[in-house]
């Protein structure tokens, strides 16, 4: 009996690979964004309240990770568990792929209890950014809910980044994304469509390994 238990322990221990983790941070130009904190934006300021997004189908060192990440600025820590300590290259999808969306509801980080599934129409919200833009003494809310996978407006974006020997974190820099606040009248994008597609393109170019 004891020998059987020893064999089982050995079996399970062989299945576990050494793991490391890489933190994921959200930045505005080189400054880390904190929830509810105001940051200087051009001549005015911005308060970021919500940043949530999915990183899925993550491939590191040629192998796909068993789970992705639902980044949430409210959480103390956001990190990806990776099987190796050094990242030469990382690939991931910003959002939820269309096949998963087509299959309806999923569990774990994709459970709709996390508030990342649209209710008035089908599909996961790939990326959420909410806050307040203080401009010329006027406070205006902004809400960007980027998603959609049907009717020619598929907002999932596949991202590939090259690393180096001293990679310590994965960053999303919202600098370009937030510049749209000063140029666009529209500060609420909460439907799939062309505007959401354009913002998804901006976000896809905003990830960096540092």
């Amino acid at each position: 009996m004891i020998r059987s238990i020893q064999i089982l322990i050995l079996f399970f221990s062989l299945g576990v690979r050494a793991q490391d983790s890489i933190p994921v941070k959200v930045m505005y130009d080189r400054f880390e964004i904190q929830p509810g904190k105001t940051i200087l934006f051009q001549d005015d300021s911005i308060r970021i309240d919500v940043v949530k997004f999915y990183l899925t189908n993550v491939v590191v060192g040629g192998s796909e990770l068993s789970s992705g990440l639902l980044f949430d600025l409210e959480k103390d820590q956001n990190y990806l568990l990776i099987p190796i300590s050094q990242i030469d290259e990382i690939q991931f999808t910003l959002g939820v792929d269309s096949l998963t969306n087509s299959n309806g509801i999923s569990g774990g980080i994709l459970d709709p209890i996390h508030g990342m599934y649209w209710s008035w129409q089908s599909g996961y919200i790939n990326f959420k950014l909410e806050g307040i833009h203080f401009e010329n003494g006027i406070a205006e809310e902004f809400n960007f809910h980027i998603g959609g996978f049907l009717n020619g407006y598929n907002c999932e974006r596949r991202i590939q980044l090259q690393g180096s020997s001293n990679v310590s974190r994965l960053e999303l820099d919202l600098y370009q994304m937030l510049q749209t606040l000063s140029t666009d009248q529209l500060k609420k994008i909460m439907s799939p469509g062309k505007r959401a597609m354009d913002l998804a393109d901006i976000l896809a170019d905003s990830f960096f390994l540092r």
Partner: protein
């Protein structure tokens, strides 16, 4: 080692028995195959039963007053009668007439505007809508995790008693997919077990000539999106399918509803503007509103004599399926809710 093998063998047998209660949809052999693919989540008797309990449970609304069945009553083929527009918590009024729920397994896109692409996501819409159930799946999961009846039921189906959003929504989906209406007089006539009377026969011929292109047999809808010439309501400002696709060519288009059980699914149209079948027929006869996206079939209207209208209604009444509406397995699950 032998003890471990017996232990795992027992687990396998228990899991096997638990999953051995899969069920299949029963429908006439002349029907097309369902679109719904249950390979990932096969229909299961216990899951359908638990889905029914959730469907009838007012805990799904924020103030515990409105269940899915409030607007989708089995005795009206799972829709809401008397009210043009469905109403939710605190007597708030929505913007659309609640659609009847049956034969969803043959429908690609759900809701009047096709907003929902999968039955498992369907319930989120009324759950979150402030004028319907005004709740959230997160709030519901928290409530149900404190309810011993559900904890016990989940434990008997899954390997644990954890109640998650995914499980709740999929259970509701299982119940809704299980609702198949295929036992009307029309169905019995088609299978040679009954006969139309002369008036119904004349009505069927009129139907085939004038209505069947959109209300295609045997489901009595092709489930396409069409502008059927309703004058837009200036208060509701409902653009229909265009809200989802953002394509101007979809403006004022709504899903063609099935005519099955139409006797019991009044009022009619997406905004419930017509209370009687004769009003609906009159609409196609002489009230078509012209717009850019009007379905070409309706450009000249569909005209009937007074006698023809009576015959057509007589046929439409043969689409009533009381065996479906009054089936005990579709009604309020008293035994579940009576549990201590």
């Amino acid at each position: 080692m032998r003890l471990i093998a017996i232990f795992f063998g027992l687990i396998f047998l228990l899991v096997g028995f638990r999953n051995n209660q899969s069920i299949e949809l029963i429908f006439p052999s002349s029907w097309p195959e369902p679109i719904y693919n249950d390979d990932n989540y096969p229909l299961n008797e216990q899951k359908v039963e638990l889905g029914r309990a959730l469907f009838f449970d007012p805990q799904l609304s924020s103030d515990n007053t409105i269940s899915c069945a409030s607007c989708h009553s089995p005795y009206n083929a799972f829709t809401h009668v008397d009210h043009q527009l469905s109403h939710g918590i605190n007597d708030r009024i929505g913007t659309r007439n609640s659609p009847a729920i049956f034969n969803l397994a043959w429908q690609k896109d759900l809701m009047w505007d096709g907003a929902i692409h999968h039955v498992d996501a369907q319930a989120l819409a009324p759950i979150n809508h402030p004028d319907e159930m005004g709740s959230s799946i997160n709030e519901i999961v928290q409530k149900l995790n404190k309810d011993v009846r559900y904890k016990k039921a989940f434990k008997s189906i899954y390997s644990d008693d954890l109640i998650t959003g995914e499980r709740v929504l999929k259970l509701l989906g299982q119940f809704m997919i299980s609702l198949v209406s295929c036992d009307s007089k029309y169905d019995r006539v088609m299978s040679g077990k009954d006969k139309f009377d002369e008036q119904e026969k004349r009505g069927y011929e009129l139907f085939c000539k004038n209505c069947s292109e959109c209300h295609k047999e045997p489901l009595f809808s092709d489930y396409s999106f069409r502008n059927n010439g309703l004058e837009p309501d200036p208060q509701l400002k409902d653009i229909g399918r265009m809200k989802i696709t953002q394509n101007r060519m979809d403006s004022l288009k709504f899903k063609v509803p099935s005519l099955r059980n139409i006797e019991f699914t009044f009022p009619y149209m997406h905004d419930g503007r017509y209370k009687k079948l004769t009003e609906v027929i009159d609409h196609y006869d002489r009230k078509i509103h012209f717009s850019n996206t009007l379905d070409p079939i309706l450009e000249k209207g569909i005209h009937f004599t007074t006698n023809e209208k009576v015959d057509l209604v007589a046929f439409l009444l043969t689409l009533t399926d009381k065996n479906f509406m009054f089936a005990p397995e579709h009604g309020y699950p008293k035994d579940f809710f009576d549990q201590k």
